[in-house]
Symmetry: C2
Subunit: 171 residues, 2 copies
């Protein structure tokens, strides 16, 4: 496939590919993204540690903590790092729960979801200058109910929480 | 926020926004996408009707049928249309199950998932020239097991199937 680079930014790149697949001429617009790690963690009271983050143009959105991989960074390292930066909580262990492509038709991004265990409050939040968020705690059964009633709009929160609940037979 | 348009393509657009949020100078790279409809439907033998679709650069990927909204098209209309075009099955009814943003940090796309009922084989597949796929049937319990063991990589399949299973207490 012939590649034409359109854009290289801080968060994502964009290229257009042209060529043949199965004998047919095709054109594919492709977002290039390093990938992200997302973390389902529970505090000392067994509540899910979420973030209420400003997402332009939607306003504040409730999500599990997450962040983009740095250059060459392994997903599990990103998970430990972003969890502590965004929530002030430190995990002893990160266990992979599910990895998926949010938009597999046109985006290379993979989101790697982890469950954090041995979680303790360790520090204040350490956010990027343009990262606008606060920590929110929600009981996991309430969070499941919010997902089922359409109150959670974010793919990584839905995928991680429902997969966790399915494996733990919470549903 | 000041908007700079970078790209307008067939599937997506790209703009960069600059301005202030909560008093901080921010820059946001934003993918513009009309949105999509995805369908969880069962055949006469109660098997889930999936598609095995070529997704560059991954190869063939197992997913629920789905498609991008046409200009001005309502999600439910897209669901009926894409379900029949991609599988040859016609549904009597589409019930919304979950809607979500695959990558809410930088992408306007919303994926609207529906459950199809009153499903009957009606026609041959009616694919776009560059759409490369075939129909695959899988038992829903097997599909749940595939999700839990990391064999399903696609967000709409994971979100729709797990939400359905949670509501129907199948897990």
């Amino acid at each position: 496939m012939k590649k034409k680079k359109i854009f290289e930014g801080k968060v994502l790149g964009l290229s257009v590919y042209q060529g043949e697949i199965e004998g047919r001429k095709v054109k594919r617009e492709m977002i290039e993204h390093r990938g992200a790690a997302a973390i389902l963690g529970f505090d000392e009271n067994k509540k899910v540690i979420l973030v209420k983050q400003h997402r332009y143009p939607h306003g504040y959105v409730l999500e599990i903590p997450a962040g983009t991989l740095e250059n060459g960074e392994k997903p599990i390292k990103c998970a430990f790092r972003e969890f502590e930066e965004e929530t002030g909580y430190k995990a002893k262990k990160m266990t992979p729960i599910i990895s998926y492509y949010p938009s597999i038709g046109y985006n290379t991004e993979i989101i790697h979801c982890f469950v954090a265990t041995g979680v303790k409050k360790n520090s204040d939040l350490n956010l990027d200058y343009d990262e606008i968020l606060s920590v929110v705690k929600v009981d996991v059964k309430k969070l499941l109910s919010m997902i089922k009633t359409g109150k959670i709009q974010d793919s990584k929160t839905i995928c991680a929480v429902l997969t966790y609940a399915a494996k733990k037979k919470l549903i």
